[in-house]
């Protein structure tokens, strides 16, 4: 598996995990607490910070694991770590384009919420959800391209 594909897996897993925890904590309060009183700001900032930190840590762990695996099994090369070729660039470009379309669709929904004067709670969370959906769509598109070709 190319290093870039492993990194895409890390990104997909971290994005899903962080979003799942955030939405479980914040949206779990919706049935019992008025949305205007739910303190979502810090959990949202922590979720975004965690996403960045965990993605970096995950990439480092994958790089180390790839290098150690190459040494132990003798298959592949330590040089494979961080090696990025034109196929990776093509797949990344296509994946990010799909992610952009999904995020843009979500942003239109957020715009509608703002125009309809929904509570900032819903606007902020819908925006975060559209970013998450875009990132996941990009990751899935890349993984499909790595597996099936294009």
């Amino acid at each position: 598996m190319p290093f870039e594909e492993k990194f895409t897996w890390v990104s997909a897993v971290v994005t899903t995990g962080v979003a799942a925890v955030y939405f479980a904590i914040v949206l779990g309060q919706v049935p019992t607490v008025p949305v205007a009183q739910i303190a979502y700001q810090w959990p949202l900032l922590i979720a975004i910070g965690s996403l960045i930190v965990l993605t970096i840590v995950g990439a480092i762990v994958v790089a180390i694991g790839t290098a150690i695996g190459a040494q132990i099994t003798g298959s592949g090369s330590v040089d494979d770590v961080g090696r990025h070729d034109e196929r990776d660039a093509d797949i990344n470009r296509r994946g990010e384009l799909i992610g952009y379309y999904v995020s843009s669709g979500g942003a239109l929904g957020v715009l509608a919420l703002a125009m309809l004067r929904f509570d900032p709670f819903w606007i902020a969370n819908a925006l975060y959800l559209s970013f998450v959906a875009g990132a996941l769509a990009a990751a899935v598109a890349k993984l499909v391209a790595y597996r099936r070709g294009f």
């Binding site: 598996m1 190319p2 290093f3 592949g76 090696r83 196929r87 790595y146 099936r148 070709g149 294009f150």
Partner: protein, 73 residues
């Protein structure tokens, strides 16, 4: 599995003719990942013209000897 590209190639046979060169060796010489060589060999990825020339140069053959494209029927 449906092959996403109509470009076929003779890389596998050229590797064996070149002293059973491994996919990893070819990848190193073309400066790509081994998975990209595998994807090209299996017809799952159509390389750029520049990469195609680099692959042909490794084997010392012309582009047509490495890559084939079916004519219009």
């Amino acid at each position: 599995m449906v092959k996403p590209t109509r470009v076929s190639n003779s890389i596998r046979s050229l590797r064996f003719a070149a002293g059973e060169m491994t996919q990893a060796e070819l990848a190193d010489r073309v400066h790509v990942t081994r998975q990209t060589v595998i994807a090209i060999e299996q017809g799952r990825y159509s390389p750029s013209l520049e990469m195609a020339f680099r692959i042909a140069r490794v084997f010392g053959v012309s582009l047509d000897d490495v890559f084939q494209y079916p004519g219009e029927e």
